[in-house]
Amino acid sequence: MLVLIPLIPFLGFAVNAALGRRLSKFVSGGVACTAMLASFGIALATAWPFLFGSADLHAVEQNVYTWIKAGDFVAPFSLRVDPLAALMILVVTGIGFLIHVYSTSYMHDESDSEYARFFSYLNLFAAFMLVLVLGSNFLVMFVGWEGVGLCSYLLIGFWYRKTSAADAGKKAFIVNRVGDFGFILGMLLAFVQFGTLDFQRIASALAPMAPEAEFGTVSAIALLLLVGATGKSAQIPLYVWLPDAMEGPTPVSALIHAATMVTAGVYLIGRNAVLFSHAPDVLLIVAIVGTVTALMAGTIALVQNDIKRVLAYSTVSQLGYMFLAMGMGAFGAGIFHLYTHAFFKALLFLGSGAVIHALAGEQDMRRMGGLKRALPVTYWTFLTGALAIAGVPGLAGFFSKDEILFRTFEHGHVLLWGVGILTSLLTATYMFRVVFLTFHGASRVASHGHGDPHGGGHPLHLHDAPPAMASVLIVLAVGAAVAGYVGVPHALGGDNRIERFLAPSFESSAAAIDAAATSEISTPTGSESSHGVELPLMLVSTVIAFGGIGLATFLFLLSADAAPRLATRFAGVYRVLTNKYYVDEIYQTAIVEPVQMVSRQGLWQGMDVRVIDGSVNGIGALVRGGATALRQMQTGSVRSYAAALFLGVVVILGYYLFN
């Protein structure tokens, strides 16, 4: 049963990949969407007992077949669902299905074969993500892990005739390889240490141990896995591929950012919650990486002009929040944010896609504005998403983000909490900058279509999202509004259902965290005692959210010259931010160029040309040179041959005679 969840999208991929060029758009899109819907149905049926069944159901497992068996090493291809995986498969298939439906309309301008290619990739992406989520051991997860990397490459570079898109695809793939390397090393080390790759076995092997006080093997495993996670989940130092991934079609961005790919890193940490909580040092690193990434990406998002780029940096920033939560040991809160984020980020991306669709490929917000009237559905749904991500009370983002900030504060990391709050302010500001620049104010829309692969240059007529897109936007907007109610905190009279639901997946990790906490300083962890703190904190973040929106209103809506004046006033800061802290340039000079230099000068010119080619050519030249010298002796003159013969005889006889 479990195997069907990834298998059906995979079959959808196979059909579209094999027969795609002969199928009409209706059929190939229909196959892809049906596959996702079927997968969602099975996922729902699988998750149902976890959601509404008895509380003592911990995991359902299916051993598909024994994949590798070599000596002591056995790697079954087995899938397992526990509450965490149940939530993930619902997000992946559910949001994934909506994105598929949206794409049927969004990609309609492509030719039939390209259309089928697109949907085959989308299906494959979902299939691999489901393998990643369902895998019961590192090796199966790694299959999905690499698979989503491949699909991200294929989809980001979907318009491969465009150099920038092809480059962005390669960049995503290569940066991810760096992370994958960490994943592999972590996996190998875990096998050496525990003798198994099964997540549950590793967790139960670790459970009786105390958390590592010093940096030991477990910490090393966790750190290596973290490297893998930063690659997939776009955290410092490997986040650089995600903003460039905007070169792909917009539904792809939504898929990568909401349902698949970037959540993999967070999921990896959640999956190995026990392991990570036995490595407190690494957990702190996770939290710091997350916080710094959140702040950095938030500040960059503030000044970008490409609507999708702002959203991309916003994703990086929100993933930073999830890492912060993971680092605080609040795995439930992190996954909760992942789940709510999936709704509103998919919504925002698809909304921006609707805008881009309406403007025939225009992505620059400086050439938008005043679209509120022309695109009412897009506007209202996008606004819902923006309110949700900004953390306005009552919407999804508020509950999850607040939970993360509360847990951070509760753990006594006031500095990280402060940065989190600051990022929250930035989030509200840049999101409403997007809203105001895109939908409000005077129209700055160019009179005809922009030269982009999507528009095809047909004359521009502003049209709201077609039905397939609009319905998806509305569904997601409802989701973004209400998804948070599964995790209403105790302080507001809820009982935080989602964290209770997820708890079995992280079990014994919470105990380890508590042990670590009590051994150092006793921080209040009981939820009852912290109500007193949680409510004021909530008030602070609410004020911050509205403050950010207000700031954006002032800067980008009311006062026409406030933002430019600010930019000129702090020209240095502005330049650093628009250039994204020069990180790409630094990587270029610090890593890419030395590598190219070594490859070119050392490996190519030195090793390949000199040593390898040199030795082969050298042998040839030696033989040739020797032959040239020796053939001079072959004069053709009979008498010189006779002389040589005679001399030879004399020498040999002389040798025997005088020896």
């Binding site: 072959q634 053709g636 003159s637 009979v638 008498r639 005679f646």
Partner: protein, 100 residues
């Protein structure tokens, strides 16, 4: 009374004359004659050894050498005539194309 050594010295001198003739003369027929001198120098050695060791083996080998030399002279002269017809000269330096 001539000793074995005297015969051997004479034979060596004859052989050297023959060899020098083969290497230095510029006429194929002369070269063939020089080869004959070398063969007969060797024949002289065989006969001398046979005489001084009281064995007939030396003389038997000499008969063989003489028959082979007769055959060789016939074949050699035939080749020389063919070569002369081909190139119009008997200078061995003219026949150097068989190389490399």
């Amino acid at each position: 009374m001539a000793t074995l050594n005297d015969y051997l010295v004479l034979s060596a001198v004859l052989f050297t004359i023959g060899a020098a003739g083969v290497f230095l003369r510029r006429n194929l027929i002369t070269i063939l004659l020089a080869v004959e001198i070398m063969l007969n120098a060797v024949n002289l050695t065989f006969v001398a050894f046979g005489r001084f060791h009281g064995s007939v083996d030396g003389q038997i080998i000499v008969f063989f050498v003489m028959t082979v030399a007769a055959a060789e002279a016939a074949v050699g002269l035939a080749i020389v005539i063919a070569m002369f017809r081909h190139r119009g000269t008997l200078n061995p330096e003219a026949f150097k194309t068989l190389k490399w």
